[in-house]
């Protein structure tokens, strides 16, 4: 062991530059790995912790109607159900509403509660967020700071009367002391913003229920105004949280069976715990991919370095073996060397990841709306230390097998040749290539391991380029493909009308020149008997909807006994096209034939489509949402306002769909911008590291040749050109292959990441132009970087070569 350590010391001293580059790669990989592990392992745990600390509900249900009767009914059911651990029933108001957010609109179902009663709920209580910090540090302390109505710390002056919003919406525009206009049931109401709160189950528009807390005076005022009907808010804690989805479906079915006209909205722990972490899931997915790619490249570089080291030091290794060193000791020295490097670099990576984590955390909090306190996580750190160290050790041990096998005499005779003599690649006499290019190509063809390293790096980076292009094209430049996939259907306006005025409304809209297309597109909750609740969208003719890609397999339903169902749900329930499912709503049960599979992430893969006639076999429609495509240049908000004025109470909601969707998606877009920027920057950094190692190794092995060439009259510029060009065939070919393969697999690969939110088949547009430009840019960048890194050729002088330096 002592001998191995001595050899290790000598190896490290002899290859400082390579050591630094390998350390840098492992450092970057470990940093990404630890960030990914922290994101993927602790964020959901944090949700669970927050949920537990606030005694969060596993099932929430807000039901309009006679509160006394509803409370009695729900109490009866919940008391008898053995799965229920505890429950609470509180008065609230419930109404669809909207407010401006992030340049668009948040449009969702609001549950409006009196602040003090929301903070004191026995189940699912809310906690106020101190304005100077977003860390989740214990609830009560936060409440006391805020409850007295004093401004916290040096924060802005807080209003005594107004609204508290979910912390997800905290932004420059929506801040304490400012005023927000919330349209509740079509009526705009302005409230001073008093603060923000955390509610795991009702803290986002992704939760189906989004809470708003009003101070007592504002709550009573809204009750008097009658903009939002009174409702009963039911919070249920189950003995087994895994049953939340099933229980939520059954509870809602029970309510709709007994109170067919009562408007009920609910959510479950299973749904919310997924929907609030979509951003975190995307971010950690990308980070994991980057971490693995960088570590893979680091391994390739290490293996390549070891092969090079063996070739360069064959004589020395032979001498050491002749002196009595065993192959294991020699391999061991490299093993110790790289293990020390790996552990050191991983430790540094872990440390830096903790410096970066607050930034990532801030971004994640703005996406999830759940406070998170950065703290040391031993398990991710341990895994980050162990994974690179073990894989590096394995790679080193395997690649040093040649040292263990070779006999000392063979090694002393330079036993292994550095190149093959079987063939003279590119004979200068016959080639039509210019001299410098021909010599560069000779170098290329004699350096298979270098080419392999370049190829693996370029293949990985091609995937990064294609992914960046895909996200830029489909999420940043033109969001339509993203909307089509994630949101499903997008039009200019959505107007929800009562069925009593439907015919007149349609007649007028069809006569309005600004309306290019109008079609019904209403979503309702329908339960699958023996399964879960499905958000079912109804339309009289699906051939008229804008997004014809929602059904990606089979076809849209055409008849009243047909249904298209979410592929994710179908997979979970083992349902195939042609199978029959029994659905229930409003106490009725009907069978439907599956005609196709859909994919929309709105309800995390629990969606269905059916015709209007199909739904009417189950129950009556009281209102219908119409989607409208308006002519270019039409002011959608003005159009909606006009419609509301014209039809008054007959219109329940008029939504600017694109603005709403854009607001909802803005968090993803900003996240994706950051991810695209980060992975491109990281990718280029990796290219530079790998090139640095390759060029350094090449110059090391060609020092003598280049010295001879310089003596013969080759200039430094010619040798730099040769070095850089010798890398280009592998760069160009692997980039071309990598970009082509990546372009072919990127949609299926993205679908794998998005499977959790119900996307089975991605149909993102492949940005051919971006990919070609990216590929060209990658090649040019690589060439430029290789030229710059090859400037070391300057240091090679014929005099030094002849003097044997």
């Amino acid at each position: 062991m002592k001998k191995s350590i001595l050899l290790t010391k000598s190896n490290l001293q002899g290859a400082r530059g390579q050591t630094a580059a390998v350390v840098a790669l492992i450092f970057l990989g470990a940093m990404m790995l630890n960030l990914w592990l922290m994101l993927s392992m602790d964020y959901k745990q944090n949700f669970r912790r927050c949920h537990e600390r606030l005694n969060g509900e596993h099932v929430s249900l807000a039901v309009d109607g006679d509160q006394e009767q509803m409370r009695e009914f729900l109490s009866g059911i919940l008391e008898e159900d053995e799965r229920v651990e505890e429950f609470s029933l509180e008065p609230a108001m419930q109404m669809v509403g909207l407010f401006d957010y992030n340049g668009g609109e948040v449009n969702t179902n609001f549950v409006i509660m009196e602040k003090e009663s929301a903070l004191g709920r026995p189940i699912g209580r809310a906690e106020l967020i101190p304005q100077e910090k977003t860390a989740c540090s214990g609830g009560r302390e936060d409440e006391s700071t805020q409850e007295d109505g004093q401004s916290s710390g040096e924060g802005p002056r807080k209003a005594q009367s107004g609204v508290y919003l979910p912390m997800l919406y905290q932004s420059d525009e929506i801040a304490v002391g400012k005023t927000i206009t919330i349209t509740i049931g079509g009526n705009p109401v302005a409230y001073p913003i008093c603060g923000f709160f955390n509610s795991p189950m009702m803290g986002s528009h992704n939760c189906m229920l989004c809470a708003l807390l009003l101070t007592r005076d504002r709550y009573e005022e809204l009750e008097k105004l009658g903009y939002a009907p009174g409702a009963t808010l039911c919070g249920v804690r189950l003995k087994d949280a895994a049953q939340s989805e099933q229980f939520a479906t059954e509870l809602k079915n029970a309510v709709s069976a007994s109170f067919p006209q009562a408007y009920a909205t609910g959510n479950s722990y299973a749904l919310v715990s997924q929907s609030r972490f979509i951003s975190q899931m995307i971010c950690s997915g990308v980070m994991s991919a980057m971490a693995f790619l960088i570590l893979l490249i680091a391994l390739v570089v290490i293996v390549s370095n070891i092969f090079h080291y063996i070739q360069e030091n064959m004589k020395n290794l032979g001498a050491l073996k002749a002196l009595g060193y065993t192959g294991r000791q020699l391999s061991g020295s490299l093993l110790v060397q790289f293990s020390i490097l790996s552990l050191g670099a991983s430790l540094a990576g872990i440390s830096v990841s903790y410096l970066l984590f607050p930034l990532v955390n801030e971004m994640m909090i703005s996406q999830t709306g759940i406070p998170y306190r950065v703290h040391f996580l031993p398990l991710p750190a341990l895994l980050t230390l162990a994974a690179p160290a073990l894989t590096v050790a394995l790679a080193v041990w395997i690649s040093t097998g040649r040292i263990r096998r070779i006999e000392p005499v063979t090694a002393l005779r330079q036993g292994m040749m550095t190149h093959s003599f079987k063939r003279n690649h590119i004979p200068l006499e016959n080639t039509s290539l210019p001299l410098q290019s021909a010599l560069a190509l000779k170098t290329t063809l004699s350096g298979i391991k270098h080419n392999l390293t370049v190829c693996i790096t370029m293949l990985a980076l091609s995937l990064v380029v294609v992914f960046s292009g895909l996200m830029t094209e489909n999420m940043i430049v033109d969001m339509e493909p993203f909307f089509n996939l994630i949101v499903g259907e997008v039009a200019d306006s959505c107007i929800n009308v009562g069925t009593d005025i439907e015919k007149d409304f349609l007649r007028e809209m069809n006569g309005d020149k600004r309306v290019e297309k109008i079609y019904p597109y209403s979503s309702l909750a329908v339960s699958h008997v023996g399964g879960l609740e499905l958000v079912t969208t109804i339309c009289d003719d699906f051939s008229r909807v804008n997004n014809q890609d929602v059904v990606f397999q089979g076809r849209f339903p055409r008849y009243d006994n047909e249904i298209a169902i979410a592929a994710k749900y179908a997979g979970e329930k083992d349902l195939a096209i042609g199978d029959e499912v029994v659905l229930t709503a409003e106490g009725e049960e009907r069978a439907y034939l599956i005609t196709g599979f859909t994919q929309v992430s709105n309800n995390l893969g629990k969606d269905a489509l059916m015709t209007r006639e199909g739904y009417e076999r189950l129950g009556k429609l009281w209102n219908v949402s119409y989607y409208l495509n308006l002519s270019e240049g039409t002011d959608v908000d003005a159009f909606n306002r006009e419609a509301k004025e014209r039809w008054g109470g007959g219109i329940y909601a008029a939504i600017n769909v694109k603005a709403t969707v854009e607001a909802g998606s803005s968090v993803y877009v900003s996240l994706m911008r950051a991810i695209v920027f980060a992975i491109l920057a990281l990718g280029l950094l990796v290219v530079v590291f790998v090139l640095f190692l390759l060029v350094r190794t090449m110059l090391g092995s060609k020092k003598r040749d280049y010295g001879i060439m310089k003596a013969l009259g080759f200039t430094t510029a010619e040798l730099i050109w040769q070095t850089a060009v010798s890398l280009m065939p592998a760069v160009i070919l692997s980039a071309a292959a990598g970009l082509t393969i990546s372009a072919l697999i990127i949609n299926p690969l993205t679908a794998v990441f998005l499977r959790g939110i119900g996307i089975v088949k991605c149909t993102f547009r492949i940005p051919v132009g971006f990919i070609l430009a990216g590929g060209l840019g990658l090649c040019v960048f690589t060439f430029g970087a290789a030229c710059l890194l090859s400037l070391r050729v300057k240091r090679i002088t014929p005099r030094a070569m002849l003097a044997g330096e």
Binding site: F421, N424, P427, L428, E429, L435, I708, G713, R799, L802
Partner: protein, 252 residues
């Protein structure tokens, strides 16, 4: 009257060695003439190789001027010197210095193509030279590392001559060879010199020095003396004695 090919004035070369300056060449004024076979002799550490590198543009002088055919080369940058070397100079090294990963023919053409793009003509000249140095045809396609020392040095000579240089520099070309192959190499150089090729050769071997017509003796960085031997004639004892006397006088 001999035509001056290369001229130095007050040529000095110093190296820093552990903080102290070591003056290897001191104020050397020298003229090399076209068609001469100039021999630079001296004891180890006298500065023979350093002078050769400076004369050939392989290294830059610390002080002083070198002019080649009227053009000052001492002020050229390293890349300009490289272009100068490829156009005007040929080199034969003691360590032979062929590129092992290239075939014999490619080693020669890599140097030739730096000056001429006419591959056919270059390949033809290479074949002529290979034949002239007695390298069998089956060796032309071999890799450099597959050759014996004598064969490799003959390839080195062909490579040095492929561009028909105005001056051929040879740094102890027989130093790494056995006696027989060393003699073959000297015969080859002598033959090319007889055909008009100017040669400057560094050696500390009297047998090699005998091939030159002008002997320069270097000691402690200065030219201590020079001897005109006249053209080489095989077995000329008088010439041999003259050289011996000169070297004895120089303290050899």
């Amino acid at each position: 009257m001999k035509e001056t090919l290369l001229k130095t004035e007050k040529l000095c070369k110093s190296f820093s060695n552990g903080g102290t300056m070591q003056h290897v060449l001191r104020n050397i004024d020298l003229e090399l003439y076209k068609g001469d076979f100039t021999i630079i002799m001296g004891a180890s550490g006298a500065g023979k190789s350093t002078l050769l590198y400076a004369l050939s543009g392989m290294d830059m002088p610390s002080v002083g001027a070198i002019t080649f055919g009227g053009q000052a080369i001492s002020g050229l940058c390293s890349d300009e010197l490289a272009v100068f070397r490829r156009r005007h100079c040929g080199f034969v090294f003691q360590q032979i210095c062929l590129i092992d990963t290239m075939s014999v023919m490619d080693n020669v053409l890599a140097a030739g193509l730096l000056v001429s793009q006419d591959k056919k003509a270059l390949a033809g000249r290479a074949r002529e030279l290979f034949t002239a140095v007695g390298l069998p045809e089956e060796s032309w396609r071999k890799f450099a590392s597959q050759l014996s020392g004598g064969e490799a040095q003959r390839v080195g000579i062909v490579r040095a001559l492929i561009n028909s240089p105005e001056i051929l520099f040879a740094d102890e070309p027989t130093g790494a060879l056995n006696s027989r192959t060393g003699l073959d190499v000297l015969d080859t150089l002598t033959r090319f010199n007889e055909q008009g090729q100017s040669v400057v050769m560094v050696t500390h071997d009297m047998r090699s020095a005998r091939r030159g017509n002008r002997i320069l003796y270097l000691k402690d960085g200065v030219i201590l003396g020079e001897c005109d031997l006249g053209r080489y004639v095989h077995g000329d004892m008088e010439r041999h004695e003259k050289l011996s006397a000169f070297l004895t006088e120089m303290g050899w």
